[in-house]
């Protein structure tokens, strides 16, 4: 039974994806730490951090693909969950600075000393303990998504309405976190981290470890998503995506399914954010900007929604392109390229890269034995994003 489940969940593509990830998790740190800098195969530390950043984005894209690709929920506010996870991790890292800050206050972070805060606000309690912070990384985005989804799905807010209010959610959070008296460092956010679990954040060893952990988290997220979409539960999700009203009439509690998968997705986004912060070294309110969340959606669209591997690949590709464009003389054209990508993908490549490849593959497979086999049963064409 277990083997049957595994066989169902992991087709060749999924296994290949996991193998590539596992190889990366080992190879990149090894090439960074073991080879001397003079070697042509040496991977410099800044690249390790950059790749780590891409991997975190890939995990975020995966979480979006789970709800958009398989359940038809287009969240334009997933950046909010990502940033909340990041802030939870940032708070832990801030508390680790201790007396090494500019003002050398053993308890209060620098910005609180600067703002003349007499004591630590209660919601900062406990963040000096890593397990507590790790729990919060999952809990804060999860609870927010649960409460938000509870209200939204029960009153059957769907389609573009849901997209717009998720966007309003992240916008409201951004406005809030920009305020100094919110207690999260205001405009500047949280930065100047020193160490994590006793290791120096800047050290190449820590960076390599963070990269490996990020890849493992991505693999784990992929396995969870894969297991969900391949199960019976996943079939119901797809049914909801394609015909929500019909699924409801068949007796499924659509809102519970949606709520579960939305909350899970928010937790994944939170983990991605938490791993992102120590590798980038800063978290500030601009992570909540609605534009970021929409950009994350386009990664999924480029890779192919409803493919999981595609989401991760799309995130890496688009972000590599972004790094390439914005670091050279092409910087002014990046927004043209990104905007053009949005239009191109929606008009010409609605299945995304991986989706189109799979489509070709299945068409070719269908064509060869099709003459012998019976014609495929007529299935109601899925109506994307009803």
């Amino acid at each position: 039974m277990i083997t049957g489940f595994v066989a169902r969940s992991f087709d060749r593509g999924a296994v290949a994806f996991l193998v590539v990830l596992a190889a990366l998790a080992v190879l990149v740190p090894a090439l960074n730490l073991l080879l001397p800098p003079s070697s042509p195969f040496h991977v410099p530390t800044y690249l390790v951090s950059l790749f780590g950043k891409y991997v975190c984005y890939a995990l975020l894209a995966l979480s979006i693909d789970l709800i958009w690709g398989y359940c038809g929920i287009l969240s334009l506010g997933h950046g909010a969950f990502f940033a909340l996870g990041g802030y939870a991790m940032g708070m832990y890292l801030m508390r680790q600075i201790g007396a090494r800050g500019v003002y050398a206050n053993p308890i209060l972070p620098d910005f609180m000393v600067f703002l003349n805060w007499p004591a630590l606000p209660p919601y900062w309690y406990g963040f000096q303990h890593f397990p507590y912070a790790a729990l919060m990384v999952l809990l804060v985005p999860g609870v927010l998504a649960f409460v938000f989804g509870w209200f939204a799905f029960r009153s059957r807010v769907t389609g573009v309405y849901l997209s717009i209010i998720t966007q309003a959610l992240t916008y409201a959070l951004m406005l809030g976190f920009f305020r100094n008296n919110f207690g999260f460092g205001g405009n500047n956010g949280l930065t100047d981290f020193k160490d994590i679990l006793g290791f120096n954040v800047q050290a190449p060893g820590t960076r390599a470890a963070l990269f490996t952990i990020s890849v493992v988290a991505l693999m784990l997220g992929f396995v969870i998503c894969r297991a969900i979409v391949a199960s019976k539960f996943g079939k119901v999700l797809i049914a909801i995506r394609d015909a929500e009203a019909r699924t409801r009439f068949l007796g499924y509690r659509v809102e519970s399914y949606k709520l579960f998968v939305f909350t899970l997705s928010a937790c994944m986004a939170g983990v991605a954010g938490a791993l992102y912060v120590p590798q980038v070294g800063i978290i500030n309110p601009s992570e909540f900007a609605p534009a970021n969340s929409i950009e994350a959606v386009i990664w999924v669209a480029v890779g192919g929604r409803g493919t999981l591997t595609g989401a991760a690949i799309g995130a890496v590709l688009v972000n590599y392109a972004k790094t390439y464009f914005t670091s050279g003389a092409l910087a002014p054209y990046w927004l043209f390229a990104l905007g053009g990508l949005f239009v191109f993908v929606t008009l010409v490549l609605p299945r995304g890269i991986v989706g189109t490849l799979r489509h070709w593959q299945s068409e070719r497979r269908a064509r060869t034995p099709a003459r012998a086999a019976a014609p495929e049963p007529v299935v109601a064409a899925p109506r994307p994003a009803e």
Partner: protein, 535 residues
């Protein structure tokens, strides 16, 4: 005739003023000027009085120069000079520029604060007699603030002959303010409190609150009551002001959202590039003004009127291009439309940034839109007033277009039942393009209006897009009246929350309220009913 009468009274009043302050001795203007050549504070004070008493037309000029340290004298020649603002040296006796060089021993007549106060009081009394009611009003307000007792006798006389009701009221208030801070009788002070209470603004509140603690009980009671009444009145005005600001914000939201209500509400298309249409309208205004400045500055006052049709056409044209080029391939796929139009918005923003630079561009206000007027305790600026009128005008025009014209009829037909409309011979794809163009064109009009109150930068549209969506969603999709009510109520709610919560928290509160509201009524205030809902 009147003018001369004023002069005469001015002279008499100044005389009366001096009789009270100085030992009376009639002196000519020239003699009075001689006092300044001593450069002694006592002598100067006497001189000030005598100059005022002389009634010479140069009085105000001499006194102002003295106060500002521009009055010069030559001890040897016993002459007094005025250095005017262009640094020319005038003979104080004749007011004419001197011939040849100034005397070598020329020096400034020194003044101290005591002298300055005396000068101000005398000058104040002089302006209280100015033939221009506006200047008299301003002088009365100045006296209200300075509460200079020296002016009181003059003020009393002026009040008796003042005919302009508004100026007279201001003078009475000024008089009351002086009485309150002087050592007048208790009954007078109580009467003064009543006058101040009538005035009822922030200044009167400050004045009454600063009364000494050891005042007699009757006076204290009157003051307390007056403070209560003023505070009540101020709170009322505050509410009116909030409502006005809210109305103003609401009209801006209405302008930004109404085009969206067409594309989103009527066509079901999410146009994330809507904000960029607004931005294009604002940049059209900028370009029109630049051309007018360069070619024909006389037309500047008409620049907005010229920009309006151009902005409508250009934004509408861009809108039609977008519809024909992108959106028509995506009908029935709202989420993809959203992403594609977001991409377009990035491209448009970056295009404008490349063409005009990333910084704010200056858009001027025509003369009929600048300035403000007072309504009770409320200051109303003309640009806000015009924008409110303009947004309502656009709204009415749009309703009229949808109700009364052939195009509107066809639009409504396509909205309600596309297939049936097509069967009746309506070219639905043409209507789609025109509807989208109309919505975008209205966004362009909004841009012209917003260029007057907001920074014209490539990010202009971004600031409005989320708010506009909130308005449309709150008001109910597919219903223009819902958009009107939604925009105005969101604007007013925002401004009423601001004093309690601050601007940012108020905005967050509004967003949260809308999110909760959508839970309750997922299709907005004015929801469409019937089959169209699920279509």
């Amino acid at each position: 005739m009147r003018h001369w009468a004023d002069r005469l009274v001015a002279f008499l009043l100044a005389l009366a003023l001096l009789v009270a302050a100085l030992p009376a001795r009639a002196a000519t203007y020239e003699e009075a000027l001689q006092r300044f050549t001593a450069d002694d504070f006592e002598e100067s004070e006497a001189g000030i009085g005598e100059v005022a008493e002389s009634g010479n037309p140069l009085t105000a000029q001499v006194l102002t120069a003295l106060r500002d340290g521009r009055l010069l004298y030559s001890p040897e020649k016993k002459q007094v000079f005025i250095k005017d603002l262009q640094d020319r040296v005038l003979d104080a006796a004749s007011g004419q520029p001197i011939v040849g060089d100034a005397p070598a021993d020329i020096d400034t007549v020194n003044v101290n604060n005591r002298l300055r106060r005396t000068i101000d009081a005398v000058l104040g009394a002089l302006t209280l007699l100015d033939p221009d009611p506006g200047k008299r009003y301003a002088a009365a307000q100045a006296v209200f603030k300075s509460k200079d007792e020296n002016v009181l006798p003059a003020l009393d006389k002026v009040i008796a002959r003042e005919t302009n009701a508004r100026v007279k009221k201001a003078m009475n208030e000024a008089r009351a303010a002086i009485v309150l801070s002087s050592d007048a009788a208790e009954a007078d002070k109580v009467a003064a409190i009543a006058v101040i209470r009538e005035r009822g603004d922030q200044d009167s509140l400050a004045l009454l609150s600063s009364l000494p603690a050891d005042a007699p009980p009757a006076m204290k009671r009157a003051a307390t009551e007056a403070i209560g009444s003023i505070e009540h009145g101020l709170a009322l005005w505050n509410t009116v002001q909030n409502a006005w600001y809210g109305l103003s914000l609401g009209s801006v939201l209405l302008l930004a959202a109404i085009g969206l209500a067409i594309t989103f509400g009527v066509m079901g298309v999410i146009n994330m590039a809507h904000g960029e249409m607004v931005m294009i309208g604002a940049y059209v205004t900028f370009v029109v003004q630049e051309i007018i400045r360069a070619r024909n500055p006389a037309l500047f006052d008409y620049s907005l009127l010229i920009a309006l049709p151009l902005a409508f056409l250009i934004s509408g044209g861009v809108g039609i291009l977008i519809e024909r080029g992108v959106i028509r391939f995506l009908y029935g796929r709202p989420l993809e439309t959203l992403l594609a139009t977001w991409g377009l918005s990035l491209i448009l923003q970056q295009a404008v940034r490349t063409a005009f630079g990333p910084t704010n561009r200056e858009v001027g206000a025509p003369s009929w839109m600048s300035g403000a007027f007072e309504l009770g305790q409320l200051t109303i600026t003309y640009n806000r007033l015009w924008i409110i009128c303009f947004s309502l005008l656009v709204f009415v025009a749009l309703i009229g277009l949808l109700r009364l014209t052939r195009l509107g009829l066809e639009m409504r037909a396509v909205t309600q039942n596309r297939a049936m409309a097509a069967a009746m011979g309506i070219a639905t794809s043409r209507i789609d393009a025109l509807t989208f163009g109309l919505g975008s064109g209205i966004a362009g009009l909004a841009g012209v209006a917003l260029s007057q109150i907001d920074n014209v930068s490539p990010n202009l549209g971004q600031g409005y897009i989320i708010d506009s969506f909130m308005v449309v969603v709150f008001g109910g999709v597919g219903n223009l009246w819902g958009t009107l009510v939604g925009a105005l109520s969101l604007g007013i709610a925002n401004k009423f929350l601001e004093p309690f919560a601050g601007a940012v928290l108020g905005k967050i509160a509004i967003l949260v309220l809308i999110i909760l509201f959508i839970q309750k009524r997922p299709r907005g205030l004015f929801a469409l009913k019937g089959r169209a809902v699920e279509a």
